[in-house]
């Protein structure tokens, strides 16, 4: 094992990989060789740092210099200036990392300052493909402790005591789930991990698997010991190739080192893990559908009870938890339930990872203590709304959640508060919307998604969501009536009450919450045939203002020749010809074209 004076950490999460971080790693290796630095500087590929907006991200230790938006061409400069001569290349640093010419440590950057990383603690710190780096940061220590010093009941007691709640969305107490599975009768039992992350825009679980796959292996093994199972399945979607690859490597390495397999730590405990790939159906995130899919059957839910804790995979007692829930387990074992309970609110302990997206400056992954307010997440960590636009609402919980309007922005985030506001924690998607987002259109977008993803087993979901979508289409096209709004509301309540599984039961939430907080927008569409946000195509038109300089750029940009006007005269758009593509507005150098 070699010692190095400097480590260059390059993010190899999905986000940064898609912006060529692997090429950056290659270039660093080449540059180090050219400068004879291979023995002094080590290149490490890591999981997601969270600040995806600034990707590809490179961090150089021991300085903790935080480089953002790095291109292959920049590598030469970083190598020659920073690595060779020790001069941090300030102009390539993340903008917030330089204040009055003082380079700030990565932990001091606003984006990270308010975060508390438990589930993501190794993401962006270790090389996920190197089991020894995981062990260096106390990896597998919790497993060793559990197997050699604790009885299964004691493990369950600690998880119960910690008040950890399921991070997949429902928020069911994890310790209780473990206890049910442990007490269930059965000759064989299974542990399963739900990594079928389906919410549009959510990538928390993917990032944990990509950045710290061993934590899942370790936690599931602990769970196996606690409930008396010798076999585990990780159900993960095939569209997460990097996560699948790293998890498989983690399983193989753990087996090689005797951390999985037979007689782990010389005890009588055997445990094995297997990956099951899903085809990316949203409904397979529902636990009974997921179990069917693991068994090789069509991914459809069935009524509960019996719950998986009693009848799960192959009808055997099964413990099913989400990726992020598992990612908390080793830390709870090592630091004790009191430590975990000290973080968070009265009813929701610990932290939650959110995928921050939409109209926000710092798109990315954040982990915050429960009880942090939406305002802190959006303005302090997220850096606010781009272009000085006004915050309108935040959508949490993906297609099952709802929109929380600006008046509730100071609500502390926890399971119960979000449900009270008509939304939910969900798996952790957080989409920020500004004044340009039409709330009817947002509801329509999510309904469109659920209609596609409904498995079709029960009529309320299969037929009901389709009817809701049709009504929403009608309203956004300007053909809605007030009766439609009433019908929509009634349908939504009925679908919620009558659907078989969580997908149908929560699918109306986006509609119900927008109706609750933004009813006037629905009414504007219906009564005035107007979209207040100017987002619904059918209800808005492009106009050229008096400030037009008559440069003719819009005229050239228009693909259907709808714009006319003399040079240096105000131009006009022929609304009958216009196809509302928006090209003219995008090209106008004087911001003289508006949509309303």
């Amino acid at each position: 094992m070699e010692l190095f004076r400097s480590h260059v950490l390059v993010c190899a999460g999905t986000g940064c990989t898609s912006s060529a971080s692997l090429k950056i790693i290659e270039e660093f290796e080449k540059q180090l060789e050219e400068n004879n630095l291979e023995k002094e500087v080590k290149i490490v590929q890591t999981g997601c740092f969270g600040l995806c907006e600034a990707g590809p991200v490179v961090i150089v230790y021991p300085e903790g210099a935080f480089y953002s938006h790095i291109k292959v061409e920049d590598v030469k400069r970083i190598t020659e200036e920073h690595l060779l001569k020790g001069r941090v290349v300030t102009d390539l640093l993340y903008k917030d990392a330089v204040i009055e010419n003082q380079v700030r440590d990565i932990d001091e950057v606003d984006f990270y300052k308010k975060q508390k990383r438990i589930a993501l603690r190794n993401c962006g710190l270790i090389n996920p493909e190197d089991i020894e780096e995981y062990i260096a940061f106390d990896g597998y220590k919790a497993l060793a402790k559990v197997l050699t010093e604790m009885k299964p009941e004691e493990v369950i007691e600690i998880i119960k005591e910690s008040k950890l709640r399921g991070r997949g969305g429902g928020g069911f107490p994890a310790g209780l789930k473990w206890e049910f599975a442990a007490k269930a009768e059965g000759d064989e039992k299974y542990v399963a991990c739900n990594a079928d992350e389906g919410d549009p825009g959510a990538f928390m679980d993917r990032s944990v698997l990509e950045g710290d796959p061993h934590v899942i292996v370790e936690a599931m093994t602990i769970a196996g010991y606690a409930i008396g199972a010798n076999k585990g399945y990780v159900y993960i979607r095939a569209e997460y190739p990097i996560a699948v690859k790293r998890l498989q490597l983690a399983i193989d390495d753990a087996k090689r080192m005797g951390l999985l397999g037979e007689k782990i730590f010389n005890t009588g405990f055997d445990f094995d893990l297997e990956i099951r790939l899903g085809a990316g159906a949203f409904v397979c995130g529902e636990e009974t559908a997921l179990i069917n899919s693991i068994e090789g059957k069509r991914g459809m839910p069935r009524p509960r009870p019996p719950f998986p804790a009693n009848k799960g995979i192959w009808n055997k007692p099964t413990l099913l938890n989400n990726v992020e829930t598992y990612a908390n387990i080793p830390q709870i074992i090592l630091n004790g339930p009191e430590w975990f309970k000290s973080i968070g609110t009265e009813t929701s302990k610990g932290t939650k990872v959110f995928a921050l997206g939409g109209k926000i400056n710092n798109t990315g992954l954040v982990e915050i203590p429960m009880g942090t307010t939406l305002r802190e997440v959006i303005y302090e960590i997220g850096g606010g709304i781009p272009g000085g636009k006004e915050f309108k609402a935040v959508q949490t919980g993906g297609p099952s959640g709802g929109c929380i309007p600006a008046e509730h922005i100071d609500t502390p985030i926890d399971y119960d508060n979000l449900i009270e506001l008509g939304s939910m924690m969900g798996s952790g998607g957080m989409i920020v919307m500004d004044e340009d987002n039409c709330m009817v259109d947002i509801a329509r977008f999510f309904l469109d998604f659920t209609v596609d993803e409904s498995c079709g087993k029960c009529p309320p979901c299969r037929i009901g969501t389709k009817r809701m979508l049709e009504i929403l289409d009608k309203i956004t096209e300007g053909n809605g009536t007030m009766e439609d709004i009433d019908n929509l509301e009634r349908l939504a309540k009925n679908i919620k009450a009558a659907s078989l599984c969580g997908l149908g039961q929560t699918a109306p939430n986006p509609v119900l919450s927008t109706l609750q907080y933004f009813r006037e927008e629905y009414e504007a569409h219906v009564l005035e045939h107007r979209c207040p946000a100017g987002a619904c195509k059918a209800l808005s038109n492009y106009y050229i203002l008096e400030t037009c300089k008559g440069c003719g750029i819009c005229m050239k940009a228009c693909p259907v020749e709808a714009i006319s006007g003399e040079r240096k005269q105000v131009h006009v758009i022929d609304l009958d010809v216009c196809i509302k593509c928006g090209e003219c507005m995008a090209k106008c150098p004087f911001d003289a074209i508006v949509r309303r």
């Binding site: 010692l3 480590h7 260096a136 060793a144």
Partner: protein, 121 residues
Amino acid sequence: MKSIADLEKIREAALERVNLRSDRQGIRIVVGMATCGIAAGARPVMMSFLDEIKKRGIEHVVVTQTGCIGACQYEPIVEVYDGDEKTTYIEMTVDKAKRVVLEHIVNGNIVDGYTIGSYKK
């Protein structure tokens, strides 16, 4: 993997490799590696520090580099930061580096003879 002791052994060995990412306390050995430092032979000095620390299995020590410290005539310069205390060693060589590791880092005694304060023409 047979026991906790086995795991601990791997952990200790691996920690040495990665602790510069998390360790912000500990001792920092900073080698001046500007053009002047490199020309005066800073690179072998730094490698000597790295080798010696590895050989002795010392934890919580970070070796890093910096730019020109400003006293080019005394290069290679090495600064050792231990808490609030800073020691500046000048005109370092491979052998001097080894002695600094042994006496200063391991035993906690500053090698007075090598410091900038004791420099005499």
